[in-house]
Amino acid sequence: MARTQLMETADEAVAGIEDGSTVLVGGFGLAGMPFDLIDALIRQGAQDLTIVSNNAGNGEVGLAALLKAGRVRKVVCSFPRQADSYVFDELYLSGELELEVVPQGNLAERMRAAGAGIGAFYSPTAVGTPLAEGKESRVIEGREYLLEYPIKGDYALISAHTADRLGNLVYRKTARNFGPVMAAAATTTIAQVSSVVPTGALDPEAVVTPSIYVDRVVAVEARHYTVQGAR
């Protein structure tokens, strides 16, 4: 990884994302969702994307807008169906979208494995359920496990709270969620942040994502979205 680049705009930050890329998109519901990067990705125009994210969009903003624009071939997520996931629902039910449902913890751990150079791992989650179909299983010390493979991204789009000029990141409260895991699992990680502070201004003990995992950073204005309304 070369030195982290500080970009002026979200459009610059997402430049070069190729058609057919696998893009890891942070956030759990609205918390930690990189809205500005997703909007820029829609403008950027990349198509035929595989999106890995916990959910599959709400209303018509963020991931839902990307889906609606027809840019996504496949969604890998734990919980696509929500009260307001109608954009996803329609595309999926009409067969225009491929879906891989992964239990939330396996989703996180499979990306963690990708970032950590682990070839595969045995998870106890989903044993004996329909999501175990087609997976290799193995009994270890009397307990059954399923073999799970890494999920790597070509790109990760994440939202953090603050970056320093080197690209170290800290998050805020439960908006941390998938950010650190995705940053390490992608070849190119792009982070939107509320502010960029001078190098040395972050406590080295409290850095959550070291700069080595961050390729591009862009500061965006805080978004005043409605927490309840957007659920």
Partner: protein
Amino acid sequence: MTVEHLDRGPLTMDELAEVIARDIPEGSFVNLGIGQPTKIADHLPAELGVVLHTENGMLGMGPAARGDEVDADLTNAGKVPVTELPGASYFHHADSFAMMRGGHLDVCVLGAYQVAANGDLANWHTGRPDAIPAVGGAMDLAIGAKDVFVMMGLFGKDGSPKLVEACTYPLTGVGCVSRVYTDHGVFEVGGPAVVVRETWGIGVEELGHRLGLPLTAPEG
């Protein structure tokens, strides 16, 4: 012996939450699933020192946020704005699910469509062919605590039992539930027979008939 409360009707969900809260050990680490189980938090006195985990990355979760407390960056697993208690900590999703999968939580309380006598749990998918599958953290939670409790109404809207001999809905986890808390009774599952600890508004014998399951009383 089973305690039968025949002088009253079945529990309300709030009363049931209180019953479950009484069984949460002092100082334990607990995950309360989305929906009804979140009510249990209202019945845990602060001096009990129970620490709540939310799988989206926090220990020490406080009550739901109100008014100015609402912070888009601080929600529970149901995406409802919550608050932070002193001594809280935040961590990312892989660390949060490692905490769960590693068996560090003492109790997890989940809702369910069905629970089987052997402890099998079905709570993620109705099995309807046109339903969009969505699992979230259900399967991770099901295998991720020392004790997995279920909180549910004992009978569906059509009167059919939700505590069953074998689940007909797609499974979330195998043999993972230890205790089932319902409006009509509290059951221990996963053993050689279903044990009824306590009933409300119905006797054990009638309960056994309605469930079509052999029920036994606790020892001692």
